[in-house]
């Protein structure tokens, strides 16, 4: 069984974006308009998209969350993010109920700049306890490109981490859109977010306080595996523990869209800490005009690493996902 731990509902029917546009336009006052989308519309939206790609590529199950760029936590205020998160998480739940064999739900959190992450706990709990979601996306920059909040190791995050540990859900550390003209969203802000988050974890003692907390850093860990020697050296110079000690708690996905990158990731980080993922349908939608294959068909790159043992390959494709997401292990037999 091949589990893809990183998929977003980027193909939602247009009513979702319209709802959100109206909500943002009225930000500051409560927006209680129901989102009206039929089951058939949901079926169509994934049937021609993520579901078809799963079948074509031979992957079985996708951990499915709202569009990362769409979290856009900087819009409006806390209530805006609360209403938006409930609405879009409800929609993710419907997708996963309609296709329980293919999609397992991961929620976004109602973060808002300057607001305590403690205020996300109720929505996380609702998604996990009422709906059975198995993970959440944690945005390390709710300001969406200006990084005005505290690092992930700041104690203000702790109430969220306490809930994640109690509920046994890991977090994918995933920024959202960028409002900063210096940072292209998927081409800079995403990777910078991954890189910055890892370095925050190198400098902090978060996992002393939360030994069972688990994070997945997407997009192959941003710049981190490519600069693994740099991180080893910075940690050593700073008198920090070896970065490998983070590997009980920190994992990377395979959303790296060429073979040399995926090969480096596995060579450097090792098969125990890499989870298969494609980010499909997401950052790079196209077919490579040179190869004739989709850039984000990451299974091709993993399959091409012939030196992987079968047990290591199974870890990457399945076992690590079950280990990092214990609620998934209970769901997906």
């Amino acid at each position: 069984m091949i589990i893809d731990v990183h998929g977003h509902y980027t193909t939602a029917p247009p009513q979702l974006a319209e709802w959100r546009r109206r909500q943002i336009a009225g930000a500051g006052s409560s927006f209680t308009e129901p989102l009206v989308i039929s089951d058939d519309e949901i079926r169509d939206s994934v049937g021609n998209g993520q579901l078809r790609f799963q079948q074509q590529r031979g992957t079985a199950l996708t951990l499915f969350s709202p569009t990362a760029g769409g979290m856009a936590h900087h819009y409006g205020d806390e209530r805006t993010s609360q209403e938006w998160s409930r609405t879009v998480n409800d929609l993710i739940n419907r997708v996963c109920r309609l296709f329980p064999e293919n999609f397992v739900a991961v929620c976004q959190l109602p973060q808002s700049p300057g607001v305590s992450p403690a205020n996300c706990v109720a929505e996380l709990r609702r998604c996990v306890e009422e709906y059975g979601f198995v993970g959440c996306n944690v945005n390390p920059d709710p300001s969406d490109g200006y990084w005005t909040g505290p690092p992930l190791t700041d104690r203000s995050w702790y109430p969220l981490y306490e809930a994640m540990v109690e509920l046994e859900v890991p977090g994918m550390i995933h920024v959202s859109m960028s409002c900063n003209p210096n940072f292209h969203g998927t081409g800079a802000h995403y990777l910078n977010g991954d890189t910055s988050a890892f370095m925050q974890l190198v400098l902090g003692d978060l996992f002393k306080d939360f030994p069972t907390l688990k994070f997945v850093i997407p997009h192959g860990g941003g710049a981190v595996p490519y600069h693994w020697g740099r991180y080893r050296g910075i940690a050593q110079d700073a008198g920090r523990p070896p970065i490998e000690t983070l590997l009980d708690n920190v994992f990377f996905d395979t959303c790296v869209y060429h073979y040399p990158g995926v090969r480096l990731l596995l060579e450097v980080v090792g098969a125990d800490n890499v989870l298969f993922a494609s980010e499909m349908i997401g950052a790079v939608k196209g077919v490579d005009a040179r190869s004739g294959h989709y850039f984000d068909d990451t299974k091709r790159y993993v399959d091409a690493i012939t030196e992987l043992s079968e047990s290591d390959r199974k870890k990457i494709y399945e076992d690590n996902a079950r280990r990092v997401y214990p609620r998934l292990a209970k769901l997906a037999k």
Copy 2:
């Protein structure tokens, strides 16, 4: 001859830091105190540092610039940066005059948040025309971690680029310190700067306007080569030219501190666009406790790539540097 295109004067005598501390403390009023450092103190400061490493590692010549983290363009106002840049560039000039066989000078620019890069042209011209500097460091984020200025493709940068083209000096795109607690300097902000700058160039048409302008992106290009497929795909999806068209103008250095990273860099980017560099003495100062070698002894990683042809190796070690830095080619026979 092995040319290292990325070295900083991180070992300057303490008078420099003291001068700078007093200058910052008095920011807002003119600071005309002379910097007093003797030639012998300069000789000692590099003799036990960069010069010794050059000899031990078998590199011949380093392109030498002020400490990147020390540019710290956010302090004070434009005058603060002007005075600081003149002072530290003068000091770099002295080092290079004392050791003309070993160091060739690269200047910092007197950038300041919200101030037009046009105001850097006089100092650039002074360094190049009066002193014979061969390059400059261009800080894409003079706010030092908050990215409040415009991207490198904005027309406000054009007067600087016009001067760089006229003077035949390339720019190394290098951020300075980070005031943002989310971004560790050398472990996040540096790499994020490299990544963000490349993506800005992918989206812009800068080299249509400046076909001979050249940039070196340090630290192996941040996350870029590791995510080369992602960039190819984003460019294709966005209807931009193939990213390889940037390679007439954009180059990467080898400041990647482990073998798998340097190997990926050369495999993906190719020998024509990679310049040897070590960033020595800089971001990672220590000896790897596992290997017994300095992390930043990047020559070891390049030497270990046995599949490189001799002509490709010579490009990386020497020929590309002479091509990208035409004034260096005239100086270093």
